[in-house]
Amino acid sequence: MAARDQHGSEAPGDQGFRVVGKENRKVDGLAKATGEAIYTDDIMLPGMLHAKMLRSPHAHARVLSVDTSKAEALEGVVGVLVGAELPIRYGVIPWTPDENALATDKVRFIGDEVAAVAAVDEDTALEALDLIEVEYEILEAILDPQKALVTPEPAIHEGRKRRDNISKHVDLEFGDVDAQLEGADIVLEEDYSFHSTTHAPMEPHCAVAQPNSNGRLTLWSSTQITHYVHRALSRVLELDPARIRVIQPCLGGGFGGKSDPFSLEFVVAKLALKTGRPVKMLWTREEVFYAHRGRHPMQMHYRTTAKKDGTITSVDAKLLIDGGSYSSFGLVTTYYSGQLLTGPYNFPNYRFDSTRVFTNKPPNGPKRGHGSVQPRFAFEVQLDEIANRLGIDPIEIRRRNFIGADTETVNGQRISSNGFMQCLDEVEDASDWKARHGKLPHGRGLGVAGSMYISGTNYPVYPNKMPQAGVQLKIDRSGLVTVFTGGNDIGQGSNSMVAYLVAEELGLLPTSIHVVSADTDLCPVDLGAYSSRVTFMVGNAAIDGARKLRKQIIEAVAKHWEVEARDVRLMDGTVIDLSEAARSMTHVEAFHLAEELFDTLGSTGAYNTPELGGDYRGGTIGASPAYSFTAHAAEVEVDTETGRITVLKVWAAHDCGRALNPIIVRGQIEGSTYMGAAEVVLENHDLNRFGLHSGPSLLDYRIPTSLDAPDLEARIVESIDPEGPYGAKEAGEGPLHSTIPAIANAVFDAVGIRLRHLPFTPAKVLKALRELEEQN
């Protein structure tokens, strides 16, 4: 078992990196650029039916009856499905299964699913939905999380151990927080809030199910978590998992919005089994807004104590988390909201008390920077304020509190590599901070913030000791190497990453590698694209598998040439003899020699995290084999007449360990930063007074156009992690976090107002400016 083997961060041969670190093309770039790439909705099967979902118009109601007889009688309708046919509950976290594909007893938000119809076309399915009669008993809807906290009745979820509307409560203390109050040079205590935002991937959710005549079922779905969908399907359909195949086709973006099992997956599967025909369901954009699982709104109270020199002595946090109507990843969210704040600064004493409540809203879940973006915003603004009060430069205060590398956080998390100081240096330099911070004309300002994030955690969603990531390699006599990985490429480029690593190990060009991914029939299990785990875990597994083949190939060639193994160099598709004989052969010839010697060539590779985390309940949640670090500097302009904040430029320096492909890393940094900036000034996943989403469209939910995105400058910092694949860590979520507080802090520098409640609408800015004027 090689799962926990360390491969080291150096290049496999003596020739340095030939593939890694280079600006290689992605394995699927041209397929996407030419329209050849197949996404789920591009799949058309003979005889395929189209399904549509009936949704609840009520925010909270008991479903008394569902009468589908008229719908069934409509010509063209082939299958109708109601909740009673899929009574088994599911949920991505096995401890909190509280979702039904279609309502069995209650509906819990406007848009909750009630019934489904499969018909010859979408028009007919829609017509049939109108004919379904549902009788509801309307219940009081709870929309305000404060109210949910204190109102046990009506319980949005009944029959739980807890008879209230609290989804999860975590209260942890490390050190003695209250003892730091006495004698503290400064105590700062403030309220902050983070509003609701959503992922809005450009591709709406879609699933296609095909019943196979041999009793098997194939599901294509726009999911980030093929493996969990596979498990959930088996559970809900009560079907042997060996009879289910789940495939993720090309995915049009996820950002965490496709990391739960979704109702449409169960519905098309069940309808396919029922009708014996392939069934597709494509959600409209509006339905994607109802599926949501976006960023949890949080009301946060922070109290930080520090010494005169800026050294933090304690941090105390109390958080109220609006969970929306279902658990989703909520258990993890609640832990992450506290656990992930304990770097890059040293907190000698720390306490957090986080409560997630249920409300009658679309469910919240993991959005890029799951659980930790909100606390990071609050804390980094608080730290900025402390710096300001103490007269310390905001970058300097962050340096002074730096936790260091190869250390442990107050809550028992192991920090290995840590390039945060260099990140700070980079943004200080790039933004010309020293010459400009605090010195720009009124209306213009610079702000800074820092953050850290996980590269996966050692908490698999369901407890097991099997590898968290596996790959399988197969060598063809043609010279093509096929890699099978359960990893989900959601656009972040994980398939390309696998190709680069295998090419590096085997001394090939990336074009000699074919990656097959996210197909449960073909690929070994990987847990999925969430918690920024794929590069670290699948990457390590890929190196693990490839290294075994590398050994065999070298051995076969060395034997053939009658030289030492160390004289055989694999490079760029050629095998070179470094001994005096100075010969070479193609990699294809080498593969043939190896196949002669070892029989059919193939290998497996796996990765599992080492034992990590604090020795307390929940101590492994958020415990990562490696943490990434980021610093952002933002420059804003505030129009004091209109209140509009324009984010002119954001410099983002991110420590990703080793950049396996700098272009892809840059894309992740820029994409994260842009998304964060939009959460500050534009986006709001808002419900109106009726509990209805106020604008479930890409017109009213304002994601930035090219004219709204700030100028972005990404700087890559490479701290080379000892356990990462060739030293790599995550880059997909970390670089979102500190964008938000950096902008908030820049607004303070620009016009002297402290904004603590997101989003920063122009109206809020104007109000704060007026208040400031009155004060002066």
């Binding site: 600006e23 093309r25 992605k26 699927d28 770039g29 041209l30 996407k32 650029a33 030419t34 329209g35 050849e36 790439a37 197949i38 996404y39 909705d41 591009d42 058309m44 028009d123 992922h199 809005a200 991937p201 450009m202 591709e203 709406p204 090309c250 995915l251 049009g252 973006g253 996820g254 950002f255 409209t284 954009r285 959601i490 656009g491 972040q492 480029g493 272009i663 892809i664 840059r666 894309g667 820029e670 994409g671 930063t673 842009y674 998304m675 469209s697 890409l698 017109l699 994601i703 156009t705 090219s706 004219l707 995105a709 100028d711 972005l712």
Partner: protein
């Protein structure tokens, strides 16, 4: 049902579809050209952008019944047209998008690339402001746009050679 006679990527295609279908539906579900994407189906995102006589147009808001007289170019049309002109590989704009890492999830990109293509056809040397303006009807959720701008600039350079 109505038989539409469409000129798609240089081919004349006769296809029967319900009369109220949009061009996007007919392209994707009747002709099988699934490169044009659907992100909102009501004009808000630009994923469905195709060229009608060279002009970027939203296929989700165009009725198939109103585009029979136009030459339609979808993303699938670029590479073959490039080859027909004696080119190698993909169309230079597609190639530049790939080289610059502009294709993350790729879902916005058929529309984005066609908008870029139309821009460069009209204005082979666009300023960065012109690039931003021309692409401002194509939402991308992955890239933050920077690598897309770089791709357009690279393609512009390439096309001058």
């Amino acid at each position: 049902m109505r038989v539409f006679r469409l000129q798609v990527n240089g081919d004349t295609v006769e296809v029967a579809a319900p009369e109220h279908w949009t061009l996007l539906e007919v392209l994707r579900y009747k002709i099988g050209l699934t490169g044009s994407k659907q992100g909102c189906d009501k004009g808000d995102c630009g994923a469905c952008t195709v060229l009608l006589d060279g002009v970027p147009t939203l296929a989700c808001l165009s009725l198939a019944a109103t585009v029979e007289t136009s030459a339609i170019t979808t993303i699938e049309g670029l590479l073959p047209a490039h080859r027909a002109n004696g080119g190698e590989g993909a169309d230079p704009v597609q190639d530049a998008f790939d080289r610059c890492g502009a294709l993350q999830c790729g879902f916005c990109q058929p529309g984005m690339i066609l908008s870029a293509k139309a821009l460069l056809a009209k204005n082979p040397n666009p300023t960065s402001q012109e690039i931003k303006q021309s692409l401002s009807g194509n939402l991308c959720r992955c890239t933050g746009y920077t690598q897309i701008y770089e791709a357009v600039v690279l393609a512009a350079k390439g096309e001058q050679v």
